[in-house]
Subunit: 472 residues, 2 copies
């Protein structure tokens, strides 16, 4: 793949929206580009309109005033071959077919239609993204397929076979202050496929972490080689969907993918060393770990948080994820006991900060340093239970922010990594208070997760990947 | 255990709060009882106050004007034996020791203190709940250990070794419109233990479902017998914490429990047929299933919701949980295709309702009946992705409620059970909109879960339990 091709995909100087909607220019493809600050020239194409969103509209692609870098097809599937031929005639370089209704329907007719489009592309110089996909989100270049995505650019890239999956993942990530370099939803991949994008991202200087949602691959060897190439420079996190029998069937009718057996994919992950995740939430949490935990010295975790059953549950969750929760040294326990304002506090590991949120900040200032000093642990998980501290609603929000501030101040002074779990429960007040505290912690550069289970898995995934790497 | 004992525990005519707080009568034990509508007589005991919350305060238990049914100890651990003796002298029937700092500390001195209290209890007729526990929540009788708990009474009971665990669980349940008959947090159990409460609940006419958070048991055979007795009349859902090595250690320092090996507990669940869950959220979801799914004819599920990758992920989640997602009959697929307003929609199973939330209600009115009619499926999961529909925020909330209304109207007309997944993402707007839709659906009697993974597990747990029962 030439660098030039991808320069055009991510930095098109001109974009034509074929089938631009006259009804809804604000939320359609054109409105999104305009509002997102796309700096190039936009050409609406629609025989039924003369102007859309203040832009001159052209009846066909052949009527465009210049050969465009990128044409987005928002048209009925059956019209695609004809418009493709218009694109050939007009000198279009990249076509993104948003339209669905191709091979994923499982219908012979639709499969033939897709083959016909592929033929036209091959016979010309046009490269195709799709069909049946959302295309590109590249905030640095003002490209998006969703108006709600962050305009802020980051270093994470995503190669996704699914558009809805990409949408959910980007939003989960954005809500975690994770921002993107390049996102591609590529659908049925009649031309450009996951390996093409992965090979490009492997060497892309704007990409630090590669994430991937895959339903199936056409050429397993090529896919593996592309992932390996990425792994030479940057971590790769892959969610392989369609690993169950029913899921494989669903993948076939979604993106016409051959999902492959769970056995083959197990072998793939074992051999290649990419990080495997089982959900989009887990993928967002894994990115959180990679971006915000400077290092993990080992699997031994010191747990600080609400005690009692919540501490027991936290410990189980960590050990189930493959972490270890060893007892602190007797000196550590003694020191923790000395600073605790409450009788009967648990100090063995997990250590109970305080029973009410009011004292948590004070405990963090002193207690975290004590845990940090214990040679038995490699890193710390602090968990805050807004749901249980929610008894005095007004105070809770204030005290939760105080606790978050104490963490933001203390974490940089520690010698070991510390991650935070903010558990919100399912109540609007606690959820809203938790989002504020999360914001504060994320701005302070701290990794934050929404439950002890997800935190433990996210940190352990990281560890697991490192261990796998070591065996190579 | 006598019925009389439990009558006094759940319907005390008189309660003494020993160590009542003069500073904070509103949110303390007395304030909670008063605000919660406890109908009996309340006696504050505190040598340093003459009146608390408008109630006459007594210097010691010996000074009380009558022998009370229940005395709650909110005092330093070391004072417990002395106050116990006062209770013996005064004719107190039940003591609830809230105070921590006993055998769970692992200290010899504290262990002896606990043994001393147990001796005094045994030598008298006083029965003890605790120490190191929250005691009773019984909304029908105006008893609570948390002001935020629902006043509404229901048919679910909980026996919990942990107070924080009980608090989290009750709140998760309340937020799901699940209400309680009787909740007991019993801590170190120096006298009354899980089997005592379970035996009582087995025959309690106000209890329809028994839930249980256990860290360890003293007498495994007795515990098993009690659970079996419950299972003769009602379902039992158990979360066994401390199943990992670290978790077992944490349980020991929380409630001085011998956690027992994972192997023993595996055998327990296999033999007894109680429903095992791995988190409090899972326990709340399992209760949701038991309360709101009338029956489950089998494991074959028809999935209706946002399609694409989200549909593939939903299918994987269901099959991973042990459900089956078979393709619909060709006739069903044809009918679904006929009513879909969009091209290229997936109809194989999962079926894609609509790409935008706006059309979802319309699709439900017609599409759910078609799926309901397919003999290939036993029940339906409808999943709504507020996060992905969140693009047009104002509309989204309205349309989400419309979709929920369509479900509320349609579900009663179906021949098969239907459960709903409302996925909120992690954004305040979508979370808040989702809570409203959830409220509407819960009021309509429909089971609602927050993710496809939790829904699939909750339904499959139920199925699994039934299968286990059949082999007996």
């Amino acid at each position: 793949m030439s660098q030039e091709l991808f320069d055009q995909i991510f930095h098109p100087a001109t974009v034509a929206i074929v089938g631009a909607s006259a009804k809804d220019p604000e939320t359609g493809w054109i409105g999104r580009l305009v509002n997102f600050g796309y700096p190039g020239r936009i050409y609406p194409v629609n025989p039924k309109a003369s102007e859309i969103a203040g832009l001159k509209c052209y009846p066909t692609v052949r009527d465009l005033p210049e050969p465009v870098d990128l044409a987005v097809f928002n048209i009925p599937a059956r019209l695609t071959p004809k418009i493709m031929q218009d694109c050939v005639a007009s000198g279009v370089k990249i076509v993104h077919i948003f339209t669905a209704g191709f091979s994923e329907t499982g219908k012979e007719e639709a499969r033939k239609l897709e083959a016909r489009v592929a033929e036209i592309a091959r016979a010309s110089n046009i490269r195709v993204i799709g069909p049946n996909c959302m295309g590109v989100y590249y905030p640095a270049g003002g490209l998006t397929f969703r108006s709600t995505f962050a305009r802020e650019a980051g270093t994470v890239s995503l190669v996704s076979q699914s558009g809805a999956g990409a949408t959910r993942f980007v939003q989960l990530a954005n809500d975690r202050h994770i921002y993107f370099s390049k996102v591609v939803s590529y659908g049925n991949a009649l031309d450009l496929d996951a390996p093409d994008f992965l090979e490009y991202l492997a060497e892309d200087s704007e990409t630090g972490i590669i994430t991937c949602y895959i339903e199936g691959v056409r050429n397993g060897r090529r896919f593996m080689a592309a992932v390996k190439r990425c792994l030479q420079w940057k971590p790769v996190i892959i969610m392989k969907a369609g690993l169950t029998e029913g899921g494989a069937g669903a993948a076939a009718s979604h993106t016409a993918s051959l999902a492959g057996s769970a056995l083959i994919w197990d072998a793939f992950f074992r051999q290649v060393g990419a990080i495997q995740v089982n959900s989009l939430e887990e993928m967002a949490d894994a990115v959180m770990t990679l971006l915000r935990m400077k290092y993990v010295g080992g699997r031994r975790v010191g747990i600080v948080g609400r005690g009692g059953g919540i501490g027991v549950i936290a410990t189980d969750a960590c050990e189930r994820a493959g972490l270890k929760v060893p007892p602190f040294l007797p000196e550590t326990q003694k020191q923790l006991e000395a600073i605790s304002p409450e009788a009967g506090i648990t100090v063995r590991n997990p250590v109970e900060s305080t029973r009410e949120i009011a004292g948590a900040a004070d405990f963090y200032y002193r207690g975290l340093r004590i845990v940090d000093g214990d040679p038995q642990v490699d890193f710390i998980i602090t968990h805050i239970a807004a749901d249980i501290y929610g008894g005095r609603r007004q105070d809770m929000q204030t005290e939760l922010l105080k606790a978050a501030e104490a963490l933001a101040v203390t974490v940089p002074t520690l010698t070991k990594p510390l991650v935070v779990v903010l558990y919100a429960g399912e109540h609007l007040e606690t959820f809203s208070a938790t989002l504020q505290a999360r914001d504060l912690l994320l701005k302070a550069g701290i990794a934050v997760y929404s439950s002890i289970e997800t935190a433990a898995r996210a940190v352990a995934i990281f560890q697991g990947a490192r261990d796998t790497e070591k065996t190579h």
